[in-house]
């Protein structure tokens, strides 16, 4: 992974010094609440319902064991021993004390970490595929590009006060595991006809109040032009994005109002001035950064491991875990493993300090001391020998990190909701808990196969409900919590926005409605057909009827089709 040099270290330290002084001036009454707000936001600090919330950056979701141990200790010392992994691969503390935030940032700086630009109207943490570098389908490793973009976006003086936040994702290949289409700018690594590496550039995606999927801005951008091209896009947005209405200020609205062709034309016109300028990337610089992501020293192993195969045959629980949480790896004899943060009874994405320390240990003991955070709010150990999977599973299970539910209905993605967030209309976490309770039969959940369920506590859509196969959006109706149900959203290469199926449902009644929805899937599915594919094939009508308690029609249809 990327290791800081003297200048990287210096910049992060100078940021701590700067923010320490800003915090001091604010507490001394020299910086007003309004003056302090944008400064603290650019350091990830929100003032929330109960206490500040501090969002720590995990650049493109990559952590060393040492860094994760520091996060564990910071969580223990400055919070209440538990923290929340977010849908943008970051970590959120919910109870830090304002005056001590500079101390937290100093602790982070000691292990090459920070909270720079994790909030505010600036370029945010860049996200990517948690299986970057080990995924089978990769055209090229996205991490060096994400790091190059991290450096470019960090303290970019021209783009610190944009009309609105700006999110970038980089996908290593055609399967788009980074979900580029829900980002302001998305990059997909591709090769052109000559076999040269470049990017397909997507622009104008985003969820929130006006969900829009990104459109292709450029089919092929040769890699040397990455930064000059991004400068052009950002300048256009900085100068012409709307600033009169925060709900219309994202770049997606500018792209929509100009039309993608005109927007692309204006980008090209601006880029003509910058193209081939000094910010053009060189082979030497890309090689320098890429060297930090060179493959670790893998052992030469057979593709199949007899012990692993035998353990699966003899232990059904292990087999269930291996089926869901173990992923193919490009190196024979290795696998990537998802440690689920979605155990029944635990808030999605939450981890205790002890769990973080155990994960750090497991990554050292079985891997190369590296951990990835995922957009689905889990943790990944990217390089595990197949022969170690059983031992890893036993250790993870003892720590409550081996729920075999990756990609299943109970692998719920949820924002922190009204328990913590002052924007939320509804409490996402109790609903997530109720759903996990309702679907606590593991065999039943495994039988349902892949179903992505996402919960957002308000229209800001931090839980990405629009792209869940089943999406739940908290709304307030005369002081009562209700949830709007959307169906048909999807991620990645098949990205789609879900559609609202009808009136919002009282929070207490949501688990029943979801059960009826999945019952309807059981009625109609064909062998091996995923929930989302059944939904696409037969449409939402029967699901809507089922959700509102009119399931008979589905049963009738089944009888007729069987008759």
């Amino acid at each position: 992974m990327y290791r800081y040099n003297d200048i990287d270290r210096l910049l992060v330290r100078q940021r701590v010094t700067q923010f320490r002084d800003q915090t001091r001036r604010h507490l001394a009454g020299e910086l007003s609440v309004d003056e302090f707000r944008p400064l603290r936001l650019q350091n990830g600090l929100y003032i929330q319902r109960h206490a500040p919330m501090l969002r720590l950056a995990i650049p493109y979701g990559l952590l060393s064991s040492k860094q994760l141990r520091t996060l564990a200790s910071v969580t223990r010392t400055f919070d209440r021993g538990s923290a929340h992994f977010s849908t943008r691969q970051n970590l959120q503390l919910n109870w830090p004390e304002l005056a001590r935030v500079p101390d937290i940032l100093e602790e982070l700086a000691n292990v090459e970490m920070h909270a720079i630009q994790t909030s505010g109207n600036c370029i945010r943490n860049i996200t990517t595929d948690p299986l970057a570098g080990v995924a089978l389908q990769e055209v090229s490793d996205p991490r060096p590009w994400a790091e190059i973009l991290r450096q470019w976006s960090t303290f970019h003086p021209e783009f610190a006060y944009l009309p609105r936040k700006f999110k970038i994702a980089v996908s290593g290949g055609p399967d788009d595991a980074a979900n580029v289409r829900i980002h302001d700018l998305g990059l997909q690594l591709v090769k052109n006809a000559e076999g040269e590496v470049g990017f397909r550039v997507w622009v104008g995606g985003g969820l929130g109040r006006t969900p829009i999927l990104a459109k292709v801005l450029r089919e092929f951008l040769p890699w040397p032009h990455l930064l000059t091209y991004f400068d052009a896009v950002l300048r256009l947005y900085n100068l012409h994005g709307r600033r009169d209405d925060m709900y219309k200020a994202r770049i997606k609205i500018l792209v929509q109002s100009l039309g993608i062709e005109e927007f692309a034309h204006q980008v090209e016109a601006e880029w003509a001035h910058l193209k081939d300028g000094p910010a053009t990337l060189t082979e030497a610089e890309v090689a320098r950064v890429a060297a930090h992501f060179a493959p670790p020293e893998y052992e030469t192993l057979p593709k199949l491991d007899a012990g692993f195969e035998s353990a699966k045959r003899h232990d059904a629980e292990f087999a269930a875990w291996a089926a869901r949480n173990v992923h193919e790896h490009r190196v024979p004899g290795y696998a990537a493993v998802t440690l689920s943060l979605k155990a029944t009874g635990h808030a999605p994405g939450d981890a205790t300090s002890e769990q973080m320390e155990i994960v750090a240990d497991l990554a050292e003991r079985f891997g190369f001391a590296e951990i990835r955070t995922t957009v689905q709010q889990n943790l990944v150990l990217p390089d595990i020998r197949k022969r170690d999977l059983f031992s890893l599973w036993q250790a993870a299970r003892a720590a409550g990190l081996a729920t075999p539910n990756v990609g299943l209905l109970t692998d719920i993605v949820a924002c922190p909701g009204g328990d913590y967030c002052s924007l939320a209309n509804a409490k996402s976490l109790p609903l997530a808990a109720a759903l996990q309770q309702r679907f606590s039969d593991r065999a039943q959940v495994a039988d349902l196969g892949e179903i992505k369920l996402n919960i957002s506590g308000c229209v800001n859509a931090c839980g990405h409900h629009h792209v869940g196969h089943i999406g739940l959006l908290g709304v307030d109706k005369q002081g009562e919590e209700h949830y709007q149900i959307t169906l048909g959203g999807a991620w990645g290469i098949e990205a789609a926005l879900g559609k609202v199926i009808g009136p919002a449902v009282l929070a207490e009644e949501v688990p029943q409605a979801i059960e009826w929805i999945v019952d309807n899937y059981r009625v109609y599915r064909r062998p091996h057909e995923r929930f989302i594919d059944t939904l696409k094939r037969i449409g939402t009508e029967s699901f809507r009827d089922a959700a509102y308690g009119n399931a008979e029609s589905g049963q009738d249809a089944k009888e007729i089709s069987n008759g």
């Binding site: 021209e158 100068l239 600033r243 030497a284």
Partner: protein, 176 residues
């Protein structure tokens, strides 16, 4: 009519500010607004309406002339006339309105403006470092004596910018 402030930071030192900023208020029109004596920053509409008068005022009466751009103004509109101004100002109506950072970048890197470039409006010491990097060299801020240190909040930068045309990776390669 408003004085920027009595003191400002210019070229990294604190100096008396002798300039006045002409602002159109209420019933003022660019064509008829009075031009007070002394060094004067006029808004873009006044410049566009009264170019020859302003140039004559400068040449014949020796009154220093400056212009200021508002946040929605396009610096391309003054590209051809940049030699006429001793100072170009950029107003920040809100600290959160970052258009001025791009306007300054364009003035310095595209239109080749080399004279004094002044930031004024809702800016404070915590903005100085970025303002300096995008090419401003004069800053009308509260308490300039305290603020000036923040010009150097950071001693290095990754990106190319108006005050440093080479990104860090190129400088590193050249010095290696």
């Amino acid at each position: 009519m408003a004085n920027l402030s009595t003191k400002l930071i210019r070229d990294r030192v604190i100096v008396e500010d002798t300039w006045q900023v002409l602002t159109l208020i209420a019933d003022d029109t660019p064509e008829t607004v009075g031009l007070p004596a002394g060094p004067l920053l006029v808004p873009l509409p006044v410049w566009q309406a009264r170019k020859s008068e302003l140039v004559r005022r400068k040449r014949e009466q020796g009154e220093p002339l400056g212009i200021w751009l508002d946040t929605q103004d396009d610096p391309a509109d003054i590209d051809a006339n940049l030699d006429d101004f001793s100072v170009v100002g950029v107003r920040f109506p809100l600290a959160s309105d970052g258009r001025g950072y791009s306007i300054a970048t364009l003035l310095r890197t595209r239109y080749g403006y080399r004279g004094e470039l002044r930031a004024f409006g809702s800016i404070g010491r915590d903005h100085l470092h970025y303002l300096w990097r995008v090419g401003f060299d004069s800053f009308a801020v509260k308490q300039p004596e305290l603020a000036i240190a923040s010009l150097d909040d950071f001693s290095e930068a990754y990106q190319a910018a108006a005050n440093q045309p080479l990104p860090l990776f190129l400088r590193r390669a050249l010095s290696a």
